[in-house]
């Protein structure tokens, strides 16, 4: 199976008439750490939302792992690619950290023992063990972000997209986030990160894509 995300000749325009992409194409290798940067309004978040099927392009097609996303539900896309929103609190639903990790799999009827084992492993990896019974919405921003990443990893996605993970984080929190990315690399999970933080990009990027006005103005392998 091809481990690529392909956007072919995409045109996307918001309902208010703002055209973000016109005849836009991009191929991403899902085994690498790719970073997208660019000014506000350049189309970074729109691009990731198109990949995740949250937004539907007016023209063109998007394939993830050789599958056209038109034929996939959000749930099916979520199994393949984990998505961490810019505001992690919008993807936290439960009253405890451990429940946050386990509820989707238990809901789908997976074996409880197996789900708990997986959750314990992620709590340990993302340094969240002490917070297992804490209320997710009362965690710090960095902890929420780590929990959101751990929660999407419960589905064992093949690829991860992070929308501005370094926003509102101080240097020490960015170091913790960097460790998180190292964990992902050790698990052979590729990522696509939207970021403005040059040091962070420099430390992790294997490919840098710069967007401006819905076009790629720089695309280089490191």
């Amino acid at each position: 199976m091809e481990k690529y995300i392909e956007l072919n000749n995409i045109t996307y325009e918001y309902k208010n008439g703002i055209k973000v992409f016109e005849d836009f194409s991009l191929k991403i290798n899902c085994e690498e750490f790719a970073f997208i940067s660019g000014k506000n309004g350049s189309g970074k978040t729109t691009l990731t939302k198109l990949i995740m099927g949250i937004l539907k392009p007016q023209k063109g097609n998007i394939h993830i792992f050789s599958k056209d996303i038109k034929n996939l539900s959000l749930g099916q896309i979520g199994q393949e690619i984990g998505y961490v929103f810019q505001f992690p609190e919008r993807q936290l639903f439960t009253t405890s950290v451990i429940e946050e990790l386990t509820f989707p799999l238990l809901f789908k009827g997976e074996d409880k023992k197996n789900v708990l084992r997986k959750a314990e492993e992620l709590l340990d990896t993302f340094e969240l063990e002490k917070l297992r019974n804490s209320y997710p919405h009362l965690l710090s921003y960095g902890e929420k972000r780590r929990l959101a990443i751990a929660a999407v990893l419960m589905n064992e996605p093949k690829y991860l997209i992070l929308d501005e993970p370094t926003a509102s984080l101080d240097d020490s929190r960015i170091v913790i986030l960097s460790r998180t990315l190292d964990v992902l690399r050790s698990r052979n999970i590729g990522i696509l990160v939207i970021s403005h933080n040059k040091n962070f990009i420099g430390k992790h990027a294997q490919r840098i894509i710069i967007l401006e006005g819905g076009r790629i103005i720089r695309d280089e392998q490191i």
């Binding site: 959000l74 749930g75 919008r90 993807q91 989707p104 919405h137 929660a151 999407v152």
Partner: protein
């Protein structure tokens, strides 16, 4: 008629009159007449009825469903659809469901008039109608935060699906559980936001003085007085004649 020329107080009076008439009258003919008048007024005020209808598409579906269910449960009148001795649908049931649809149609179309004013203007109108500023401000905050809650709700529904839960395939019983998961953070976030907002407002001197002054004062124009007097005269005539 320029929408900016009409005072929000005039609009509030029109809404009050139209929705009160919708509740008072039961005859379909009068309800249809009031519905047409309220749609005409909304269009004259340049309210974007089309966009409101699109936004309320799901609610309109629910209204029609309620009307249909209601018509099945009303047993009075001449049966139209019968299974043995059991009458499923009567003419009176259909009459009552149309009455229900017209009533809600009047309320929705008349309330759309208010969308032609900004939330600031509505608050100012309420203040000048001697409603305590705290209550008027609460109304304004509620209006201001509606789009934010809508965005949050949309993101959460997307996020829960991206966690691998296919909402279309989930059974109704489990769907309720899923919506509990979605509503919990929305309530929590609202409480957190409300707390932060109240602190920010206190820091900016909200209610620091017993009396407030306003930079923008609403003034009723001749057109407003004409609309108000015509509305009151029409209502009085309707009450006397019918």
């Amino acid at each position: 008629m320029n929408k900016s020329k009409i005072d929000p107080r005039t609009k509030l009076l029109l809404i009050l009159i139209l929705s009160t008439l919708a509740i008072i009258y039961k005859q379909l003919l009068f309800l249809s007449l009031i519905f047409i008048i309220s749609v005409l007024i909304a269009l004259l005020m340049r309210s974007n009825l089309k966009s409101i209808v699109i936004k309320l598409k799901r609610l309109l579906g629910a209204i029609f469903a309620i009307a249909l269910i209601q018509s099945f449960f009303i047993k009075a009148g001449t049966p139209i659809v019968k299974i043995g001795n059991l009458s499923l649908l009567t003419d009176f049931g259909i009459y009552k469901s149309i009455e229900f649809i017209l009533r809600l149609g009047i309320i929705i179309s008349s309330c759309s008039i208010l969308t032609t004013s900004t939330s600031r203007e509505i608050v100012q109108a309420l203040v000048q109608l001697h409603i305590p500023y705290e209550i008027a401000f609460m109304v304004s905050i509620a209006i201001r935060f509606l789009p934010v809650f809508k965005d949050e709700m949309t993101d959460m529904i997307i996020a829960i699906q991206l966690r691998g839960i296919d909402l279309k395939k989930v059974k109704i019983k489990n769907k309720i559980r899923i919506y509990r998961y979605i509503f919990l953070p929305i309530v929590t976030n609202s409480l957190i936001k409300a707390k932060e907002l109240s602190v920010a407002m206190e820091m900016r001197g909200f209610r620091a003085y017993p009396h407030r002054t306003s930079y923008n004062i609403l003034l009723m124009s001749g057109l407003d007085y004409l609309i108000v007097s015509m509305s009151l005269v029409s209502v009085a005539m309707l009450i006397i004649l019918i």
